[in-house]
């Protein structure tokens, strides 16, 4: 199977999260999508585009331009001065032939290439729902409920019967959130 194109590179790595910078400005994977670097799987949990230099904020440039696109065309250096980064919550890793849905023994490597998982891989990964518990308990840049709903919505598209997948995931969540119906209700409401 041909390796999908790499989209980003790890620039900060911890056991539970890693951050990656995209090769293309705005070449971000969508919130909740499954990404992989090395053996580590992550779910995109937040993204930002900002100036390369922390102290130097971008300035408004579009007063005389007709379209937003024109701003970038008249200042081609912008794509080099800005960068898009995202954070991913680590949800599992490849352990030989087995795919584990718990935290890996080691964090990802800096400068590791990050790939967006293809539908086949997403389908394989989402056969079990161990990752839901990791997401529920992780400290994330976005609310866990939002992220879980986004991840499940995206994963369901890789399945032949998205509704059945969502029902199964919903039941798993209902078990995990058996004592917190309000959170469960909010997530379920965002699944469709």
């Amino acid at each position: 199977m041909a390796e999908p194109a790499k989209i980003a590179e790890v620039i900060e790595a911890g056991t539970a999260q890693f951050a990656a910078q995209c090769y293309e400005l705005y070449g971000l994977p969508p919130l909740g999508s499954l990404v992989r670097t090395g053996d580590t799987y992550g779910i995109v949990a937040g993204a930002a585009t900002s100036s390369l230099e922390p102290g130097r904020r971008p300035i408004a440039r579009g007063r005389d331009e007709a379209t937003e696109e024109a701003v970038y065309q008249s200042s081609p250096q912008l794509s080099k001065l800005l960068r898009s980064e995202f954070a991913a919550a680590v949800v599992g890793y490849q352990d030989g032939d087995a795919r584990r849905q718990y935290l890996p023994p080691y964090p990802a490597r800096i400068h590791g290439f990050v790939y967006l998982c293809q539908p086949d891989e997403v389908r394989e990964f989402s056969r079990s729902f161990g990752f839901l518990n990791i997401l529920l308990n992780a400290s994330l840049p976005v609310p866990a409920g939002e992220l879980i709903a986004a991840a499940l919505r995206r994963m369901s598209r890789a399945h032949d019967d998205p509704r059945a997948f969502l029902v199964a995931a919903g039941k798993e969540l209902a078990n995990l959130l058996s004592a917190d119906f309000i959170t469960l209700k909010n997530i379920l409401g965002r699944l469709q």
């Binding site: 209902a174 058996s178 209700k185």
Partner: protein
């Protein structure tokens, strides 16, 4: 295929087992009274659903219910955050350990482990528990809402005294007929039936339908009908075998004693009867009834009987004397005739004809039973002394109606039936008591009944007295109170492994008669014989 229902989440031997239903199982399919099996680690348990309830994992669900109009939400929540639970009362262990394999289902003494799987009971399990029809087992009906046959081991059943209870009009008589047929076909016992309302011998009545056949019509060669009232029997076109007459000399003061309440006699009047018997001898009753007043006055002066007691007694004895079947001198010995029939394996039905008053019934049933029992006792003792099994008389089952009149605490000690109920099968005689007011029966007698079958009862005292001493009484009470007013009954006790609510098999249609006749042990043999005779 096993229909899995759920898993055990909590259990106690006393309070029963809580089962959480799996999400595909609809709580509305769970009916109280259905049977389930629980697959424990070492044994299998057989139990009955006694309660069904709904549960939620988080109380918020009940406070702000989800939008169940959304099928997705409804589907996700069913069986997870919201779930059904059933409460199962384990009754028996079936299979698993050596004891149950060798001896069949055993009463439960433990509970299944956590998360044991619970299944609907399969046909094979039901057969294991309720038995299949065979040489000894007789199908008496179906457990409620089920196709399985409920089979009673009648050999076991007749070993103890038994009771059939239920309010008037709930089907006691039909149930009794079915059991009598069962005993006639599947056990060695013979029956003596004191048939107060002429229901069992020839034909019986049915509410809102044509009359149904009695024992003699179905099993003519094995049933003898005795009657106290020849005229009535003739009018009803019953072919009777013997007309019972009772001589004055056969009635003893003991017989009068149990009629005390019925005849409205005082204690002293009963005492007077004993004194008169002592001074006048065996012929006392005739003398009291036929002597002139002067002669009697003489008699009273000699003894210490008070005039008013004597008048009370005389009035009571007059009632007995006026009964048509009581004659100054009986030419034939009724007891001997009955015993002859019983010895030949004939079942005897004694019809009371028009003598439906309770005094006649009490007098005759008690008197005859006492003498038959005495004969049985004598023969049993002889057989034991000679150590010969063959000399033992056939087991006898005496069927009495209105049993609380014989067995109420006041007279239970005096009547022969109290003795039979207590001494049970020592002398091969047992009772089948039929009653609508079980609370009137002496507690001691009730406690000795082996198997009890009860139709609907709604009086608290009656229910308590029937269920006294049964384990799981409160569950049974709710089952008993929910029985349909007709043709449903609850059986528990010695002859069944666990209490079962059941619907008695049909009685009254041509098809039902045929099925009864087919069930007999010689049915197949008889058919072959008939074919042989037909074709030579």
């Amino acid at each position: 295929m096993t229909a899995r229902l759920g898993i055990v989440t909590a259990a106690s031997l006393e309070k029963g087992v809580d089962v959480r239903l799996d999400s595909p199982v609809s709580v509305e399919d769970m009916v109280v009274g259905r049977y389930v099996t629980i697959e424990g680690r070492q044994r299998r348990f057989f139990g009955m659903i006694t309660d069904v309830s709904l549960g939620v994992t988080d109380p918020h669900l009940a406070v702000s219910p989800p939008d169940v109009a959304d099928p997705f939400i409804a589907e996700v929540l069913t069986g997870t955050s919201t779930f059904g639970t059933i409460h199962v009362t384990p009754m028996l262990t079936i299979g698993g350990d050596a004891e149950t394999v060798l001896e069949g289902p055993q009463p439960v003494k433990t509970i299944p482990a956590h998360f044991s799987a619970v299944n609907l009971a399969a046909e094979g399990d039901m057969d294991l528990v309720f038995g299949e029809e065979d040489k000894q087992r007789f199908n008496i009906g179906n457990p409620l809402d089920m196709e399985t046959k409920l089979c009673l081991d009648l050999e076991e059943f007749v070993k103890r005294s038994n009771g059939i209870f239920g309010k008037s009009g709930t089907g006691k008589t039909f149930l009794t007929r079915i059991l009598l047929i069962g005993m006639l076909q599947k056990s060695k016992a013979v029956n003596l039936i004191f048939d107060m309302h002429n229901e069992y011998g020839w034909s019986g009545t049915r509410e809102g339908g044509p009359p149904v056949k009695g024992l003699k019509q179905l099993f003519g060669s094995r049933v003898a009908v005795f009657t106290l009232d020849e005229e009535s029997s003739r009018r009803r076109k019953v072919s009777t075998d013997f007309v019972v007459k009772i001589g004055f000399d056969e009635i003893t003061p003991e017989d009068i004693a149990i009629l005390r309440a019925t005849l409205n006699l005082t204690e002293l009047a009963v005492e007077a009867a004993y004194q008169l018997r002592k001074s006048l001898g065996k012929d006392w009753l005739r003398q009291v009834l036929q002597r002139s007043d002067e002669e009697l006055e003489e008699l009273l002066k000699e003894s210490s009987i008070h005039e008013s007691s004597f008048q009370s007694l005389k009035r009571g004895l007059g009632t007995i004397g006026r009964l048509g079947f009581v004659v100054p001198e009986a030419h034939e010995d009724t007891v001997k005739h009955i015993l002859d029939c019983l010895d030949r394996g004939l079942n005897v039905v004694l019809e009371f004809g028009r003598y439906r008053e309770i005094a006649a019934y009490l007098l005759v049933a008690n008197m005859l039973s006492r003498r038959i029992y005495a004969r049985y006792q004598q023969r049993m003792e002889e057989a034991i002394a000679a150590d010969k099994e063959a000399m033992k008389p056939r087991p006898l089952v005496i069927t009495i109606e209105e049993a609380h009149k014989f067995l109420n605490p006041e007279v239970a000690g005096k009547t022969i039936f109290g003795t039979i109920a207590r001494e049970m099968r020592k002398y091969n005689v047992s009772l089948l008591v039929i009653d609508q007011r079980p609370s009137g029966i002496d507690e001691e007698v009730m406690s000795q009944l082996g198997t009890k079958i009860t139709c609907l009862l709604d009086n608290e005292k009656d229910i308590d007295s029937v269920l006294a001493g049964v384990s799981g009484k409160s569950e049974l009470k709710s089952v008993l109170a929910r029985l349909a007013p007709k043709q449903q009954a609850l059986i528990f006790g010695h002859a069944v492994p666990m209490p079962v609510a059941f619907q008695p098999r049909e009685y009254g249609s041509a098809q039902s008669y045929k099925s009864f006749l087919d069930a007999g042990p010689d049915a197949a043999g008889q058919a072959e014989k008939d074919i042989e005779e037909l074709w030579g």
